[in-house]
Amino acid sequence: MQITERQIDDFKSDRKDITPPLPVVLRLVPLLFYCSIAVAVILSSIFAIQFQFAVQKRDNHKTMTASLGAQTQDTRSQRTALEAQIKKATDIQNWVASSRPLQPLLLAITRSMGPRSSIVDLRLDRETDNPSQIKMNLSMGTDSTKQLDLTVEKIAALNYRAFSPTQTLGRGELDYKATLVHQDPLGRQNEEAPR
């Protein structure tokens, strides 16, 4: 079947006003668009990978910091417990140091008495504020100071040192007062174990 020329003309509309082409600079815009897509994808991928690494690193550091904090806290608790133990040990040591038996001292004093001497009254009192210091108050029935010298010598043999000694002799009785302080000959603390 043949189409007439007139019928073909009907399919084509007349194009009177064709839009002018874009300037050269604006023609680069689509090209720039494609380039920007490529660059954005590449850079965003790199940034995303770096982001993931940084997140992992940050979380690892945070976990490690928390673990170190817990260990520090545990160490502090141990230190506090140890300090409490030290305080207790110091208190007990102070008590033990100021609780040295008095019986050897009493025994030494009574045994030091010669045949012509006797103890009228012997008093040993620990000082309230400093119990390691002992106030000694001795009244002896004697007629000479030689007995006192012997008694003081026996006391010194037990490593007690007499401070502020005073003596009064009169009518066959001698009064001796002193403050006794035990001194370890080796300068050690009282560390020996109980027997």
Binding site: T19, L22, L26, V29, P30, L32, F33, S36, I37, A40, L43, S44, F47, Q50, A54, K57, R58, H61, K62, M64, T65, L68, G69, Q71, T72, T75, Q78, R79, L82, Q85, I86, K88, A89, T90, D91, I92, Q93, W95, V96, S99, P101, L102, Q103, L106, L107, T110, S118, I119, V120, D121, L122, R123, L124, D125, R126, P131, E191, A193, P194, R195
Partner: protein, 178 residues
């Protein structure tokens, strides 16, 4: 402005959006990297703190070895009697066992100054009149058997009989805080 110009504008807008998106991703990365760096600094500081604390604990342990050993040896003696009732019963039993002539005895609980671990003591004020040797031997035995007991005061004077001695003593049994 024709359609081509409008299309160009839209494409340019898309380019700006892509740049903004890329900058946003970069900003997030930089922010997290800063956080990671801060976390690393915090870890370093925590590590230093731990090293310091451990060092101090080690020093304290070394310095207190003797004291802790002292405590280990002596503490059982203090914990054996830790209440006023048992202290009183124990001392009464020791007096009774010795069969000494006991003229007077008084027990009272007294506070101890400046000793937080031993806040109180059971104080026994005792008066005896008996043989010289028996009394002093008893006191010696007591001080050995009960090493924690402190003889706060002792007074010796003549007794009524020739070989007798009058002894007034104050004994203090420490009561360890719980």
């Amino acid at each position: 402005m024709n359609n081509k110009h409008i299309a160009c504008g839209i494409v340019a807008l898309f380019i700006v959006l892509l740049v903004q998106l890329t900058l946003w991703v970069q900003g997030n990365r930089t922010k997290v990297q800063s956080e990671a760096s801060a976390a690393q600094d915090a870890e370093t500081a925590a590590n230093l703190q731990l090293t310091k604390e451990r060092g101090q604990l080690g020093d304290l342990r070394r310095q207190s070895t003797d004291l802790i050993e002292f405590l280990r040896i002596w503490q059982p003696y203090f914990t054996t009697i830790d209440n006023p009732q048992s202290a009183e019963v124990n001392l009464s039993m020791l007096i009774k066992e010795a069969n000494l002539v006991n003229l007077a005895q008084r027990f009272e609980q007294t506070p101890v100054k400046g000793n937080a671990s031993i806040p109180n003591t059971m104080r026994a004020t005792l008066t005896f009149e008996d043989d010289y040797a028996r009394l002093l031997n008893w006191l010696g035995d007591l001080e050995v058997k009960m090493p924690t007991v402190r003889t706060s005061s002792a007074r010796l004077s003549k007794g009524t009989r020739a070989n007798d001695l009058r002894m007034e003593i104050i004994l203090e049994q420490p009561l360890l805080s719980k």
